[in-house]
Symmetry: C2
């Protein structure tokens, strides 16, 4: 019986290819099979990040994880999409699944992990998250000392966002997309708009920083974040 392949879930950071870790690069370049996801039928962002490091001699696998689906409804799609990865592992080939940001922090790799990690030897490598890259790109220290930090996905109901924002020192609101207007209105209502900083596609070539009230709600991408840095000072 032949040996099964090893599964790697590798964080590749927020967008700048130079923000890969040394470990991510080593594993990526050694793997016979590289897998990456796309949320749409368009180009895979993860593929774009690692493009400078691909030799052209590796097998590449694209899998789709549609973003709009409720997780409960999407089980059969996810089950099907990880099948090509499982097939390579079954055939004894190691597979490096690359993942924007960090694999276990709202990461697309978790859909693969929950389905395959019990069956195949698995190693996960943390990456630089957009949660760290956005404050750095904005040039603002984010959390100090004994601050409480709350990370909030923008699709949450307004009441939930409000109660969380009222009880924290610093916040990151992620996955803004079509929820921008709701979030902006809440920030004004709570007196937080003057502290809130908006950024799109941090560290990517298309990075944009726009004052909150000048953002066009129709043009806000999924990879937009609003950072409310701590008021503490050192």
């Amino acid at each position: 019986m032949s040996k099964k392949g090893r599964l790697y879930g590798v964080g590749i950071g927020p967008g700048d290819p130079e923000l890969l870790t040394l470990k991510a690069l080593r594993l990526l370049q050694a793997a016979p099979v590289i897998a990456y996801q796309s949320a749409t039928d368009k180009e895979s962002i993860a593929r774009k990040i690692i493009a400078p490091y691909l030799s052209g001699n590796q097998i590449e696998v694209l899998y789709h994880l549609p973003r709009a689906l409720e997780p409960e409804k999407a089980q059969s799609i996810y089950d099907r999409e990880v099948e090509p990865i499982a097939a390579h592992l079954e055939a004894g080939r190691d597979v490096v699944v690359v993942c924007e940001g960090d694999p276990f922090f709202y990461g697309s790799f978790m859909y693969v992990f929950t389905r395959l990690s019990e069956k195949y030897e698995t190693e996960v490598v943390p990456g630089v998250s957009s949660l760290m890259a956005c404050p750095v790109a904005l040039g603002v220290p984010f959390t100090y000392y004994n601050d409480v930090l709350t990370v909030l996905p923008a699709p949450l109901p307004a009441e939930e966002l409000i109660s969380q924002l009222l009880t924290t020192d610093a916040a990151a609101i992620m996955k803004i997309g079509r929820h921008f207007t709701k979030v902006r209105d809440i920030l004004h209502q709570l007196g937080l708009a003057s502290r809130a900083l908006y950024i799109e596609r941090a560290t990517m070539a298309q990075q944009r920083i726009v004052p909150l009230d000048e953002v066009d709600p129709a043009e806000v991408p999924y990879f937009a974040m609003i950072i409310i840095p701590s008021k503490s000072r050192l």
Copy 2:
């Protein structure tokens, strides 16, 4: 008049030297001056992380940021400790200040940033945070989909920790140290102890994972974290 040096604040990740980013390594190796902090008079952890990459031909600057001080009381100490860094910048030498984890996420670099970034050209490079490294080292997906995540420093009062833990999907409790018993008792009180995972010095050679109720409170280091992963499933 000679040109002033450029200040870099560079995240070097949670402990494993292979979790430096490619950008961190490039800047580190090019700099004439490397600065790192120590919270005690003992060895600098940051110095230990970057040791494999030092040529021996660089000027090294150690600065102290005592951890136990209230930030308000410590201003004069911090002002004094950044002086040697400022002197190198003034003399036209670039200085790379390396910082465990990420520079703007509870990072020691912020004490330097707030004092020197208006006077010297400054670039900050994000790093892999222990917030991402701990769940990966524990092997547990941390946050999914629309989860709320709360980051809580353990020195906070018990009532604050309790109210935050009651209203979040996932949590990280950082800087455990001598606050372990308080935190463990709260987790039992809230029925969270069975989900809570304890880890010390994630990704370092001395990494230890211990069941919560087997931890010796007298031996808990500052760099210990308790992770409460989301209950969501994909």
